[in-house]
Symmetry: C2
Subunit: 321 residues, 2 copies
């Protein structure tokens, strides 16, 4: 089968053997989405080697554990725990120290014709959710997951920093909980997506000093060191700073401000898929205008190049050749 | 009066006019304690200029607002809000953006014969709390304040990093809530103070990898960048990292680990004095063996030098000349 792989520090479309059943379900991938993490991996983040990609929708081809899923359209939680450790036993396999993560850690990913995942990771996609919507289940779960970590009340003042895919999904998710959401970014075109949904959007250059210390909650989704510094400017004393984006290596940060202002920083990575599918199904979150372009899997390398360009949002791969 | 002052980047004992009543209480200082923050200020932290010192016990000489305190022995909350802003109105003058802080920000401090503070900042010291104990009210309030920010249950596993004054007070405070406290430091003699109180003490070099990811809560009180990295090694996924110590400038930190392990970081600066005085009064926390040495105020410069030496804990100034 074809697979978009990062091996020996090179991104290539390769022909490899289709995965075997093992103890896992085999999924024929329909479409997959390129995430910033894919771009980071290709820059060496996390030292991953193998097939990249972790946002997908596909059809279950085989599954011993959940035969009722065969032929069904699914998305899948990307963390697979060892099943034996204290964390897995406690139901938190997302933090299992021996976990594999689809296309990110120790497990071939979704930019391929087939992938495998434990049957329990799969969720059936509701009929009225399109393939294009379904590939957003993973990033939307991550964005909406914030609401399970931090209380967002109708009056909570929230700033989201970063007008990329993740920041926009965060702003859209949090806007379901509070009317006081401000999305802050550097690109008028990208900000316009949130604006269309009546979310207040502000160019970074216009945000400070006017919005200094105005927010109860700030979500850092820009993936940059300077985003962290901006967050400390925007947040109220004793406010909550949600860190969504990872960036490679060490960051140079004024942590003393966190102590002096008694800020709480909440590291936030994944979220549950079920609420995300609900939001897509009931139309609370509309995502398809976040798609910039679609490429066939065979043009995966070109698609990755495109995804890295300025102003580009979600790039989708069509994996059915 | 004599005052230990840091002005024009120089630490000197100066003779200056005693403070006037203004709208504040005048306190004759009996004893004051040298804090690491004093040492940081002398290294240029916070750009403070004036009389340093913020841990004290004294006698109220004058107070228009609270005449009943005159002649009483007091300690005092060190933050004085503007009284007019949103935060002060909400009762949180500790985070008032225009606040002054005794001996730290815009307000002459406690290493002097007299100081002034708003009357409402003062708390009478219980009769059976000695002067030596009372000067610990401020750092003990800061240490015990953790228990108001993070839930510490009897079974919560807590590591405290840093065997200095603050780390030791944190370990002692948290040991009142949980039996699973481990103090981690670099100095056997300093660790022995916690050990005497039956708190498990471990040399940093022996802590890892054995204690890797073992703790629900980690308190960083070492005041060093490496302490933050150690904290990330010790903490469980989804654990809480309490940042107690400030250090100057930017720190080089692997913040991506906070996102991946979904750590919550809780910045923690001050605490309420009343519970700290209770702990000193009822004997729950014994502090006097944390005092390394006492100097007269007139030898303040020498005392500061001594406080900066390795292995030295609390240095006290006797301000009654």
């Amino acid at each position: 089968m074809k697979a978009l792989r990062f091996t020996n520090n090179q991104l290539k479309l390769e022909g490899i053997a289709a995965p075997e059943l093992k103890n896992e379900a085999v999924v024929r991938v329909l479409k997959s989405g390129i995430c910033n993490t894919d771009l980071e991996i290709v820059r060496g983040y996390a030292g991953f080697s193998g097939t990249i990609g972790h946002e997908f929708v596909g059809i279950v081809e085989k599954s011993d554990a959940r035969p009722e899923l065969i032929g069904k359209r699914v998305v899948g939680e990307i963390n697979a725990g060892c099943g034996a450790c204290e964390l897995c036993a406690g139901g938190d396999s997302r933090h299992c120290p021996n976990r594999t993560v689809l296309g990110i850690q120790g497990r071939d990913g979704a930019h391929a014709e087939f992938l495998t995942l434990p049957g329990e990771n799969l969720l059936e996609v509701p009929r009225n959710v399109s393939n294009e919507q379904a590939i957003f289940a993973e990033p939307l779960a991550a964005a909406y997951g914030i609401t399970e970590q931090v209380e967002i009340a109708p009056e909570t003042r929230v700033a989201v920093i970063g007008d990329g895919k993740l920041g926009t999904l965060c702003a859209m998710s949090l806007a379901l909980k509070s009317a006081n959401i401000v999305l802050i970014g550097k690109h008028i075109e990208k900000l316009s997506i949130a604006k269309k949904r009546n979310i207040e959007s502000v160019l970074l250059q216009d945000a400070l000093p006017g919005l200094n210390r105005r927010f109860d909650v700030v979500v850092e989704a820009s993936g940059s060191e300077s985003g962290f510094a901006t967050a400390l400017d925007l947040i109220k004393p004793r406010g909550k700073l949600v860190l969504k984006s990872t960036f490679q290596g060490k960051a140079n940060l004024e942590m003393w401000r966190v102590v002096v202002d008694e800020i709480t920083i909440v590291g936030s990575r994944c979220g549950r898929f079920a609420p995300a599918l609900d939001l897509l199904e009931n139309g609370s979150i509309e995502v398809t205008d976040l798609i910039s372009e679609e490429f066939p899997l065979s043009k995966g390398v070109e698609a990755m190049r495109r995804a890295a360009e300025k102003g580009v949002l979600k790039v989708v791969l069509n994996c059915v050749e």
